[in-house]
Symmetry: C2
Subunit: 455 residues, 2 copies
Amino acid sequence: MSRLYWCEQAWLGGARVNSGVVLEVNGDRIRALTSGVLSPPAGSLRLSGLTIPALANAHSHAFHRALRGRTHNATGTFWTWRDLMYRTATSLDPDNYYRLARATFAEMALAGIGVVGEFHYLHHQPCGRPYANANEMGSAVVAAAQDAGIRLTLLDTVYLHGGIDPQTTDGYLPLGPEQVRFSDGDVGCWAGRVDELLAAVSSPTVRVGAAVHSVRAVDPTSIEAAAAWTRHHDAPLHVHASEQPAENQQCIALHGASPVEVILEAAGTGENVTLVHATHASDHDVALLAEAGAGCCLCPTTERDLADGVGPAETLANAGVGLCVGSDSHAVVDILEEARAVELDQRTSTLKRGVFDVVSLATMATSGGYRALGWEDGGTLAPGSLADFATVSLDSVRLAGTDAKNVLASVIYAATSADVTHLVVAGRPVVVDRTHTSVDVEAELSAAVSEVTAS
Amino acid sequence: MSRLYWCEQAWLGGARVNSGVVLEVNGDRIRALTSGVLSPPAGSLRLSGLTIPALANAHSHAFHRALRGRTHNATGTFWTWRDLMYRTATSLDPDNYYRLARATFAEMALAGIGVVGEFHYLHHQPCGRPYANANEMGSAVVAAAQDAGIRLTLLDTVYLHGGIDPQTTDGYLPLGPEQVRFSDGDVGCWAGRVDELLAAVSSPTVRVGAAVHSVRAVDPTSIEAAAAWTRHHDAPLHVHASEQPAENQQCIALHGASPVEVILEAAGTGENVTLVHATHASDHDVALLAEAGAGCCLCPTTERDLADGVGPAETLANAGVGLCVGSDSHAVVDILEEARAVELDQRTSTLKRGVFDVVSLATMATSGGYRALGWEDGGTLAPGSLADFATVSLDSVRLAGTDAKNVLASVIYAATSADVTHLVVAGRPVVVDRTHTSVDVEAELSAAVSEVTAS
């Protein structure tokens, strides 16, 4: 059975926005698309404002949502922030993790996000022992995304070491007490567990991919094994890289090579690889990324919040590296804000405007992220594409005065997640008139956050 | 007659937030304040969420609101953006300027802004000839703020030259065709006109102050005269300074001194002086500012948008320079966003967190701005203060999970103008339950922007 949506305006890719676009949705796909239809056909749902492909949140740590507003009491660095973050990680169990992730993913739905890449390393009990079902935490994430109505790529993460220390025998620190729950012991055990998860997941809106936490937490041999696993399963591989200068220094001290060099050398081919951050990547690193065909996920609101710095977005784009964005620590859940922040932070660092045009930013926020998460058919409005789309109202004070010529620019530069009115994922309406169809998001967020932060 | 407001929570300055605060308002002042009142007294208006002093927007060009979303089609710099801005300036007359400013100020009211500093240089007809009433444009701004319900400091601006050119006889370019309407010919005529405006303005919510556009547009002798006018009238003096590297270079080429040096040398004492931007101020400039007792207004969302760069906010604060913020070009009207952007942009440039604590950011956004605009009694919740306050809801997904210990940090770092529910200015409710009491803001913005951008 088909369902019709009439979009007052829709962005179909490229610089133009079309008026009166009818999307015919069949199952989880867009079957047909017609422009220039002046009024809503009978039986169609009217989408006022600008309809765009659903936004893609390519890098998420769902549990960080509990930290929002709670890390600004003192001075510090990324590393002191990490101590706070670890404290929250320790308080999680499969039940409260499910509730927190479900509420967080539902907040993403309200923000027009159709797919999330969850960089998941909270695998085991706080003491490090596996749960009875070794994938109980991952299954909680899967259930959370399904119940929140959004598409998920679970990036199941290899995490083996407590950091780099060239003075030790193997070059790594042992896991700290808060880190033991992240580790499977070795990459073989990690792969065995993820194979079980893969076998258990059958939803058409869930993919299982892999992540390597970072060169701090995973040695090159294990990176190589994880990469082989992803090639075997045709799955995406995401890796934190060069978020902090200290990571670069430690990596060079141990390996005589930068994090990007170590990762790409170990991973072999790079077409399924997305490096997250690359804030302190060198020009040589960028050239290697481009040569490998790897992509890069920028998380500018987090990179601001954690004092990471501003990454080489212009250099990456000029080299042809595919870009996407993520809300990462969820200090903010607003992919429009991430997209404009990529450009705005380039403006403050290069003193030029228009480093990225609006279409490039909109592409990062949509198809760029879908592709990085292994959903090649998503993030575009076209016949055959996944039926994932979001509508942004043009009626608020933020967008008032927008005209047809600048509607996409206005949405990218002036809209916020508060302006998203509708979200359809896999053909199913998830947000209608700013309301989630199945989750009381504010109430569930309040309860879930309180539960894990009470002390 | 008194009116009572019961605030579920209120920020009274300092790190603490109080619960159950009753504000007794008499006329335009807070008469009394009581904390710990568990439920709303009879006859009081209940303010759920966090009530803070009204936000201060210390730097505004109201007509730039028409440019929102319209300047991102091409690459460029501050200077190519300025060409677009001048085109809009040319389309304004007292009637459409009134409507645009009124709608823009009403958008500010919805964002919890109780006072605006309008840096006003659109004085005359496009050909440069004065209107029949030489203050017709300024009067339009005054009427717009009064009708929008917010407090105004009209910073009537001296603008005499078209830019610096050391090759010319006097060192300056003649005014360009779009600039002639900004100029009164000389600073004496400017002062005469502003004296008339001052005599004509009698509202207790309007102050007239002065601005010097910049060292590009005003010579030191005229700066000196404008500064003398402000001392005579006990009025604030605002000046754009060091927004762009080219301005510094030109100023040094002509005067052998930086913009800050030229301005402070000409202005004499600096206690009533606020420099706007100071993005490319040197350490020596900062020391001079501190010595003079001058303040600085940062406009980070505009400084991002116009590719100005990131200013030395930490150095300014460490030197003891008083800071405030402004939305300037109104790419965004959100003073909470400006405040957090001050800190976040320091984080990306210094790689440290907590350069500013939350109270410092909240102070910039409130009393810092009130003071810079000549309202010493505003921007605080205390007996005797101006009865200007705003309430931020804690109920949205953005703030869900906030607890009593981190409410101020959550509001500064996670709330947006969409979360402001109430605004009281001079004891009068201007925004109630997210609705402006007298302006249909979205409709008026749409109409006013369309009117001046149609071509």
